[in-house]
Symmetry: C2
């Protein structure tokens, strides 16, 4: 049986998945840590993971899909800029292809995750959907009329840098009031610190807040209410602009699930114009951290189909 090899390239880990054309994953998603400090070390780490995974494949491997955070040019296989990889305008697909001798296609990691969710997860059967990932930063991807929309320059889906509070909190991009300043890790810390006032600044992580909320801390719940409210503002903007069937929330902090999605939905039901606000679903992602590698495998299959004509 043939598989495509999906590879999710992170700053400290490479995850791989052998994905059949129907989306079945052979042997689960495997992770390997790496300590790559430059481009060549990263290419070597990816090539090593590809070889290891290929050795365990139950049949031929037809191609490789790479998923990376950042702006990527899928057509040329280039990582334009990445927040967590030592790459800038580097032709990553060609470099890995040279090492492993298989066709390699490159995509943004959230595009890959949404591809997987649309095939196997929370966006099954959907033609118009949006994915938002909450973690160190905010990622986004758009499914429009059944296709991932990459934009004119590979930059579409930068939901985190939509301005929701033009005179508001600083964002690491240098701007003010970006959604990312409220609903990614630094926002959790800042809002938790402001709301709760019980913690040292910097100690208020998503993990801690989730645990406190589960233990019934009213202050933690109040912080999540505020963060979820901002998430709802961001989702409302996406709904006003795109009118999707579903918005899926994933990423590490997305695991807080209903603690964030409940307050977010209350904003979404009130703000965009009807009927969009009444009909859009706001759901947690289903595939978790495996979505990137599985989606990368699906993207490799798509590319193979396109190449075959």
């Amino acid at each position: 049986m043939e598989h495509a090899l999906g590879v999710d390239v992170g700053g400290t880990k490479v995850a791989t998945a052998l994905v059949a054309t129907d989306g079945t994953v052979a042997g689960g998603v495997k992770e390997r840590r790496h300590g790559a400090r430059d481009r060549d070390e990263l290419v070597e780490a990816i090539a090593l993971s590809v070889r290891k995974a290929r050795a365990t494949a139950p049949g031929p491997v037809v191609g490789v899909g790479l998923a990376c955070a950042g702006t990527v040019d899928r057509d040329t296989g280039t990582v334009v800029v990445s927040p967590n990889l030592p790459l800038k305008d580097d032709p990553l697909a060609a470099l890995v292809e040279h090492e492993v001798g298989l066709p390699v296609v490159l995509d943004n990691d959230v595009n890959a995750a949404l591809t997987a969710e649309a095939r196997l997860g929370a966006a099954r059967g959907v033609r118009n959907g949006v994915m938002i990932t909450l973690g160190t930063g905010v990622g986004g991807a758009l499914l429009i009329e059944g296709k991932i929309h990459r934009g004119a320059h590979g930059c579409a889906g930068e939901i985190g840098h939509m301005i929701v509070d033009a005179h508001g909190d600083p964002c690491r991009c240098g701007g003010k009031g970006c959604l990312e300043a409220y609903v990614a890790a630094p926002g959790f810390e800042r809002i938790g610190f402001r709301t709760v006032g019980l913690f040292e600044r910097g100690a208020f992580t998503g993990e801690l807040i989730g645990r406190l909320a589960e233990e019934g801390s009213a202050a933690a719940m109040q912080s999540l209410e505020t963060i979820g409210w901002w998430l709802g503002v961001g989702i409302s903007n996406v709904v006003s602009l795109l009118d999707p069937e579903v918005v899926i929330v994933g990423g590490g902090l997305g695991n807080l699930g209903e603690l964030l999605l409940g307050p977010a939905r209350r904003v979404v039901r009130r703000h965009p114009l009807p009927p969009a606000r009444d009909r859009v679903r706001v759901e947690q992602a289903e595939l978790g951290t495996a979505a990137g590698a599985i989606g990368a495998g699906l993207v490799a299959w798509e590319q193979r189909g396109a190449d075959a004509g």
Copy 2:
């Protein structure tokens, strides 16, 4: 020579254009005032305009395209809700079809205008573009991979209700800090009043501000700088999410042109992530108020092609 009849249905006027399949308009765009207070009077006014226009056609009229402000369901030809027409969940296409005996297709007015700009105006040759119209309210339309994107429920493109200042000025939708609160007529009035302080509240219209700016009024320029800054914030959000090639600004207040677009571009060049912010063009619409009727005619041609194919 065959023509489709494009009809732009406004709250006080009906504009018609006889549009050939190549976009040529026979005899210019004609406007007729109407005083329709309910659905039946409006259908009658539209039917009258259709008959008058048809009588002047140099050959057969193959179909009618209607463009209306508001949320429309193109598939069923229904006006779901409109800010300026006495319609709610009314099957306008079928009602007009019954009166005029021609196939009728219905679309949102900004979708029609962008269709025209993409064929004949400021978005010629563009596959990914966005149109924003500034007037009593803010309208929007999205061209994605060469097609108008209407969304899952016909609501896509509500750029005016993106929240840009979550604790900001009230919007007529009941929300706070919508883009529309800053860059449509009430925002002009409010910002002009705040900035300039010389006028009676309510006297500070787009027309007046444009005239004052042309006469060299520093206060008027300062108001436009502020309004243009907010427009830049809104355009930045659209660019972050969709990464288009061009954003076109039209509508009555869009006629202020560079007085607004200059300040807006300065925000856009700084805010969304590169390379999108460096490459997107921000341009004034080219077809003016004729775009709706001409685009409605093009939509009728599109529909005829789809029905035939």
